[in-house]
Every structure is written in C-alpha cells, then in structure tokens.
C-alpha cells in the first residue's frame, strides 16, 4: 500500500495564472534558466513554489480559503511536484528545508474533511482523499496570493523590505509569544513605514 503522504507529495497544487506576473515572477526566480541566474539577483525567493509556501501559510494561519477560478485554462501548476519542495542544496547561501512538507501535510490533514475511517475501510479511495487535501491546499494558497496581491496594490513596495514577509507572520503570533516583545519595527531594522497588521 502506497503511503497517502507519497500520493499527495507526487501532486502539484494548482494556482491561478494571473499571479504569475504579479507575484510569482516578482518574488521568485521563476521563469529564468540557471544561466540567467545573475539577472535574478534581487529577487526575495528562489523557486516559484517558495512564494506558494508563504501564501499557503498565510491562508492557513488566517484560516481563510478562496476557491480557485472554475475555468481550468486560468489555472496552472509549477514544474516541481511537492516532493521536491525545499530541496535547495545547490543554491548558494540557501539551505534545504524539505521538512516543511511534513508540516504542510499535517496542516492539510488537520484542516481537511477527509473521513479517514471510511478511507481505511476502503469506502472512499485514496485518490479521493488526496483530492480533498489538495483542494484545501490550493484554496489556502489562493487566499494567500490574493492577500499578497492586495497589499501590493496598496503599496507596490510593501514586500520589498528586509522583514516584510516575516512581519506578516509575526503579526499573526499569539500576543504572548516572545518575538512580539522584540522591537522589530526599530529604526535600525527598517527605515520607513511599518506594514499594517493583518487583524
């Protein structure tokens, strides 16, 4: 019996084509061959899936989903299935973070309506179960991408700061968490306007 995790990891989440130009290519090296790597300098992230991971966690933590557009021609997938996500060893200055996959999977199981009793009894197929997990994943990602795009519409430079993405997450921390006590808005870290809270 093939593991459900492996069946899921062989998949590739869909996202809406419109985010290619506004987000994926803005923040990632996506769409550039390795020989053009030099030109990709200044991008915040590397592979295209990295911004999808960020978007996913934004959707997840805010527990906000957004159904993808119905027209399949307006949806697409990236080249690398989930099982390769986080394998960054070859990239200078970066380290592998393949463990992230387990956490994404765990979050999907926690937040998806899959009847594992029925699945183990064989009453629903594993394919059906993975479909449900993937839908959750895609909808979280979709909401996250929408969030990023909205922020950038308000302020095109919003995410082009040392700490911009990190702040989005720190703002979602429970109030008692340690990092909240740190003055990450200090002038020495950032020179101008502070991103607004997600709340």
């Amino acid at each position: 019996m093939e593991k459900l995790y492996d069946l899921w990891a062989n998949r590739n989440p869909e996202y809406e084509v419109k985010y290619d130009d506004t987000i994926i290519k803005t923040f990632c090296d996506y769409g550039k061959g390795t020989t053009m790597f030099q030109e990709a300098r200044g991008k915040i992230f590397g592979a295209g899936y990295e911004i999808l991971i960020i978007a996913f966690f934004i959707g997840l933590y805010k527990d906000q989903r957004k159904t993808l557009v119905g027209d399949s021609s307006k949806r697409k997938v990236l080249g690398q299935p989930i099982k390769f996500w986080g394998n960054l060893d070859s990239k200078p200055g970066r380290v592998s973070y393949s463990n992230i996959r387990k956490y994404i999977y765990a979050a999907l199981v926690a937040r998806s309506d899959v009847d594992f009793i029925a699945l183990d009894k064989g009453e629903i197929t594993n394919r059906k179960a993975v479909d449900i997990l993937m839908t959750t994943m895609e909808e979280y990602i979709n909401w996250g991408l929408d969030f990023i795009e909205e922020k950038m519409e308000d302020n095109p430079n919003y995410f082009f700061k040392d700490t911009a993405f990190l702040r989005v997450f720190l703002d979602m921390l429970p109030k008692h968490a340690t990092a909240q006590k740190v003055d990450y808005n200090a002038k020495s870290i950032e020179d101008d306007d502070t991103p607004e809270s997600l709340d």
Binding site: M1, K3, L4, Y5, I44, F45, E50, I53, I54, F57, L60, Y61, G86, L88, G93, R94, V95, Y97, N99, I100, K102, Y103, Y105, A106, A107, V109, A110, R111, F116, I117, L119, D120, K121, G122, N126, A129, D162, T163, A164, F165, L166, F169, L170, M172, L173, P174, A177, T178, A179, Q180, K181, V182, D183, Y184, A186, S188, I189
Partner: protein, 719 residues
C-alpha cells in the same frame, strides 16, 4: 630706491585711479579677505615684469568694463614714482576697447619711464629703468608674497649673487684672477729659465711635474667636492620638504590603518546582518512555522481521534467475530453427540494399526480373519479412508483463525497519520514552539549588529573627515605622495649620507693635496739657483706668489667678515622681532661654492631643525633686514621690502611685538596685511600706538556677491 608713490588705475578691483603715498619707514596697507591686498601686490609684480609685452584683458577692472559703451575705451595703468639717484617714474599701461556687444580688446601695452632732471621731466625706456633700478634679482630680495616666499637662500646661488651684487667682495675676484695669472706666468718663466741652470734644472723639472700633477688632482677634487655638496644640498632640501610632511604622513598612515580596521569590522557586521535574511529564513530556518503550534495541536488531536476510533471499531468487530465462532463450535458438538452415541471415535484404531491389519488380512480388534476381497477386508479399507479424511480435516481446522476471518479495515492510513503525528510531537514539537523565541532572538541580534554597524559607520565618517583634514593641512600634497614619503625619506637620507661622507673624504683629500702642493712649492722655493738670471726670475715669481696669497686670503677674510657681519645684524633683528619669545640664533653656513645657507640654532649649539612658522618667518625677515642694512651701507642705496601677508603664522601677542619693532626700523617697508582688523573694523587703539602710515583698503559698499563687476576697492589713508 625709495618708493614715493604707487598709482593703480582700473587694475582689476582697483576701479578708477587709486594712489598710495609712502614714507621712508613703514607703511601698512590693511584689508580683509577679498579687499584687494593681493591685487595690490600683483599690480606691482605686473608692473615690474619686463618679460611679457602683450596685454591681458583680465587685468582690466570688471566694473569699468561693464560701463564701457561700444566704441569707448579706457586704460589700465600701474605706475611707481621713486627716488633712486633722483626722482624717477615707471609706468606700464594698456588700452581696453569695446568694439561690439560683449566684444572687448586689449591693445597698446606700453612701458614708459621718466627721470626728473634739472632740465625737467625726461622720458626714458621704462623697461630699461626697471632693469637698472629694480631688476628681477632685487625684486627677489624685496618682494615677498606669503610666508613661504621668504626663504631667500633656498636657491644655493642666491647668497653668492647677493654678495656679488651688494658687496665689494667681487672687486677681489678681479685681483685674484690677475694675480693668479701673474703667479702662473712668472712661475712658468722661472721653470723655463731654471732649465738652463744645471744646478737645479733637474729638481725644478721634477718638482714642477709633481706640482702640475697635484694641482690637477686638487682641481678635480675641488670640482668633485662642489658637485657632492650640491648633491647633498639637493637631498637635504628634499628631506626638509618631506619632513615638513613627515608628521602629516605619519598621521595619515595611522588614520589609514585605523580606517582599514574599521572597514573590516563594518564588513563583519554587514556579513552577519546579510547572513540573517529574514524573508529567506521563513523557509530555510522554518520560521514560517512560528504560528504553527496551534495547527500542530489540531493535527495531533485529529490523528489521535481517528486512531482511537479505529481501534475501538476494530475491537468491537473482533468481539463480534469471536462470539459467532464459539456458537458454531458448540452446535457441531451437540449434533455429533445425538447422531453417533455408540460409535468409536474416528481416530481409533490408528492409521498405522489399520494399515497393519489390512496387510496381515486379520482384524486385530475382534481376532477374525479378513482375506482380501472379503466384507471384513473392505470394511477395514473404508475405515482407513475415513481416518485419513478426518486427519486432513483436523489439519485444516488447526490453521490460524484470522486467515479465514474477514477484516473490518483494509487500509492503514490512520496509522500513517498517527505515526506522523507522533513524529512531529515531542522534541520536534518543542522546536516548532520555540520558533517565535528564535526569531525574536535573531532580530535582537541583528538589531545589535545594526547598531554596532551604525556606530562603526559613524566612526568611519569621522575618520574620513580627519583624513580629509590631514590632507588639507598637507597643503595640496597628494595622498600618493604621503604614502611615498616614508620610502622616499629613507632613500634621500641614504643619498644625503653618502654625499656627506664623500664630501668629508674629499675635504680630507683636498687638505692633503694642498699640503703636497705647498710642499713642492716650498721645495722649489728652497732651491738656490746657480745662475743670476734664474735667481731674478725666482724672485719675481716669489713676489707674485705673495701678492696672490694676499688677495686670496683677503677675499676669504672679507667674505667671512661679510657673513659674520650679516649674521650679527640678522641676530640683532631676530632678537628684536622676537622680543618676548624664544628666537634662537641665526647661522649663515658657508658652502664650498662660497654661497651660504641659513640655519637656526639653539644657544646650546643644537640645530633647530623644525622651527615654527613664526620662528621661520622672523628668521628670514631678520636676514632680509640685515642684507638690506649691509647693502645700504656698502652702496649707499636703499631698496624697499614689500611683504604680502607675511605674518599669517603670528599669534596676536607676537603680531603686536612685531609691528612695534618694525615700526621703528629705519627702512622702507610696505606690509600688506589683514592684521589690526576685528570683524573688518580697524583696531584703532593699536594703530594709534604706531608711528607709521596706514592705508585701509576695502570693498566699496553695495556690491552684489555674485557679480564681479560690482566690486571695487576703495583706498583710504587712515594716518
């Protein structure tokens, strides 16, 4: 030469006619920055420059220029009236004409001269008058712009030229060269004549040959000594130049080292900051999981709930299954008891016994024979078959029960997620829950780095400023030169050392050669010629030799006296100019070429190698005053000393002492200065104490700061 009047007309900021009258003593011309002090000085330099004949329109007053209508013209004139064996005037002028809108031309530069004679004013060639009364050499010893100009003996020939120009010593040169000639001729006549004298001819020839050789060697050695001294002087000068910058150079290298160290520190902090890319850390360091603990709890709860539900259902299912199995077995047992109460169990007799009975054709249970084909034999065979069927069935029945049991769950996906849940718990969970604190710590650390970087960058800025200040103080010396200074200095010291050593050797050698020369001369002198004629020649030569020695000795003595006298006077001035300050002692050191260099010594005999700016200035001025004094005495002819901003290194107290002294010096002296000014206002109380004439030059009110054509210098005689 005593200047009576200077007139400046339309020369740069001097718009219109501006006249200065001068007394025989001190005249101060006081002005602030931009008031026209240097222009005054340069107007004189322009006037005395006989080498350029073409007019330069840039010397024309911008204000006057702006007023010229097309077709109009005006002149630029600088003239000086002075007493030099009678009143004379030198005037230099040219015309500027406007010949179109924005079109001007300068033409007709003229050098005019006038001499007042009994017959009246007679025109003469201005250029010739300059060359006669105030040539370039005199200008060099009388006009000084800034303090750096004052070192008149920088040029190794300067002193020699000075002596030649202003003392009677040069008269000796003529006599020395005449008597040398006489001595030489009389000597050769004697040598020639002595050849005929058998008594001494051989010895004369021998000694004379030696003497010629020694003289040749001596002349070579003296020539080499002059060259070596010149070379040592050259390196001495270079070393002095470099030593001026030595301190700067040291400061500069030191600050450069500090800047390098700070830059390394800054790079370290920048590296540490860059290594903490907050956005990338979201992924690489899994910071994105900082909010994850709640989700993990949900996942753990869900997977453990599924696991528990699955186990519960499974247990229920097994129980049901076990119950049904038990019922069947009981039923089978009951039906067997009812149907065959008298029957032997199927397993008696055993399979082996039965096979034995069939083989032996006898029933060993009842003891009857059972031949093959009989009823009894067939019964035994059937009984064996039945036994075998039962044994097979029994073996089937003994197989494990779950093999034949139907399962409730056919998949283990719940176990998979439960195992993942357990894997993410414990130690791994503590890592995730610690993410928020890790981020906080990292941000704090980076903030610390950034604060430190900011401090280092501030330090660097200050050091850069310090470096810039050092470079400014080095007065235009390039950074490369400061870098090079140390290496060069060492090289120059080596060269100077070698030259000085060689000079000592040569001096020794010259001394020896002179001894030899005198010895051979004495030898020749000691010879007693046999012939009367030769004796006469010898006496003639002896006489010329005495005369020569007398002149050479007198020349030398006079030069030494001249130097000593100059030195005495210079020290007298130095003492007076530094009445209330340390001044040291000026020494004029004679060089091989009969020139001299100025050095300052402490009274304990040690040389002051790095005199302060004001010490140096008063030292040079003292020598200049002394030269001027001596020349006045010798030639009964004075010439003025004109200084532009020569006292800029003086402090206030020094400045007062200086003017009080110089006010009473019997010498025409014109000092252009910004002393005696307090926020552009004259300090009249101090000026009133002086007896000299004072002019105030200043920019006329109401000028436009950006427009040169609105600026004019006004000249007011204060006293």
């Amino acid at each position: 030469m005593i200047i009576k009047n200077i007139l400046i007309r339309n020369f740069r900021s001097y718009y219109g006619e501006n006249s200065f009258d001068f007394s025989n003593g001190l005249t101060l011309i006081i002005g602030d920055n931009g008031d026209g002090k240097t222009t005054f000085f340069e107007a004189l330099q322009w006037l005395f420059n006989t080498t350029v004949d073409t007019p330069n329109i840039e010397n024309f007053s911008e204000m006057r220029k702006s007023q010229l209508e097309v077709g109009e013209n005006d002149s630029v004139t600088v003239s000086i009236t002075f007493d030099h064996n009678g009143i004379k005037t030198i005037e230099k002028r040219f015309i500027v004409e406007r010949y179109g809108k924005d079109r001007y031309r300068a033409l007709n530069q003229e050098f005019r001269g006038y001499e007042e004679k009994d017959s009246g004013r007679t025109p003469v060639d201005g250029k010739i008058l300059v060359l006669r009364c105030f040539d370039a050499f005199l200008q060099r010893f009388s006009m000084f712009k800034g303090e750096s100009d004052l070192n008149v003996f920088n040029d190794s020939d300067a002193f020699k030229q000075l002596v030649a120009k202003f003392s009677d010593l040069k008269e000796f040169d003529k006599y020395v060269s005449y008597t040398e000639e006489f001595e030489r001729k009389s000597n050769s006549a004697f040598v020639k004549e002595s050849k005929s004298d058998e008594k001494i001819s051989k010895q004369v020839e021998q000694f004379d040959a030696k003497l010629v050789e020694v003289r040749r060697l001596l002349s070579n050695a003296e020539k080499e000594l002059r060259e070596t001294e010149a070379s040592a002087n050259l390196f001495r000068g270079k070393i002095e130049d470099l030593e001026k910058h030595k301190e700067t150079s040291e400061k500069y290298s030191e600050i450069k080292k500090r800047i390098e160290a700070k830059k390394t520190e800054a790079a370290k902090y920048r590296g540490s900051i860059a290594a903490n890319n907050f956005n990338v850390n979201l992924l690489d360091k899994l910071w994105v999981l900082c909010v994850f603990p709640a989700v993990l709890k949900e996942f753990q709860a869900k997977s453990s709930a599924f696991s528990k539900a699955k186990r519960t259902q499974n247990e229920q299912f097994i129980k049901e299954l076990a119950k049904n199995e038990g019922k069947k077995e009981a039923y089978d047992e009951i039906t067997q008891l009812v149907n065959g109460a008298s029957r032997m169990p199927w397993y008696l007799p055993g399979e082996a016994e039965m096979e034995e009975m069939i083989h032996d054709h006898i029933c060993k249970v009842c003891g009857r024979e059972a031949p093959e084909g009989s009823e009894a034999y067939r019964f035994m065979c059937e009984k064996l078959e039945e036994h075998r069927r039962h044994a097979l069935a029994e073996a089937e029945a003994n197989k494990p029960k779950d093999q034949e049991t139907k399962e409730l769950f056919e998949n283990d996906y719940i176990e998979e997620i439960h195992s993942l849940s357990l894997g993410l718990g414990g130690f791994n969970e503590s890592i995730v829950t610690g993410k928020a604190a890790e981020i906080g710590g990292c941000i704090e650390l980076v903030n610390t780095f950034k604060r430190k970087l900011a401090e280092v960058e501030r330090d660097l800025e200050e050091m850069d400023e310090e470096k810039a200040r050092i470079l400014i103080q080095a007065e235009g010396v390039s950074e490369e030169m400061l870098d090079k200074s140390f290496q060069d200095l060492k090289g120059y010291f080596d060269q100077k050392g070698k030259a000085e050593k060689r000079a000592l050797e040569l001096e020794q050698k010259i001394h020896e050669l002179k001894g030899q020369r005198d010895y051979y001369k004495e030898q020749i002198d000691a010879l007693a010629p046999g012939k009367g004629q030769v004796r006469v020649y010898k006496k003639v030569h002896d006489a010329f030799d005495y005369i020569l020695r007398a002149f050479v000795g007198a020349k030398d003595k006079n030069l030494t006296m001249f130097l000593e006298s100059l030195e005495d006077r210079a020290n007298d001035y130095l003492r007076r100019l530094n009445a209330n300050d340390f001044h040291g002692i000026v020494k004029l050191i004679r060089t091989a070429e009969d020139s001299a260099i100025i050095k300052l010594y402490s009274s304990n005999g040690s040389e002051i190698k790095k005199p302060s700016g004001s010490q140096q200035t008063t030292m040079y001025m003292s020598v200049l005053f002394a030269i001027s004094d001596l020349t006045t005495l010798k030639r009964e002819e004075d010439y003025p000393l004109i200084f532009d901003a020569a006292t800029s290194s003086f402090g206030d107290a020094k400045e007062q002492d200086f003017y009080n002294i110089i006010d009473h010096i019997n010498k025409q002296c014109i000092i252009v200065t910004k002393d005696f000014l307090d926020r552009s206002e004259l300090r009249m109380a101090e000026i009133d104490k002086l007896t000299c004439s004072v002019y105030r030059i200043r920019k006329a009110e109401g000028y436009n700061k950006d427009d040169l054509s609105t600026i004019r210098t006004t000249v007011v005689k204060v006293k």
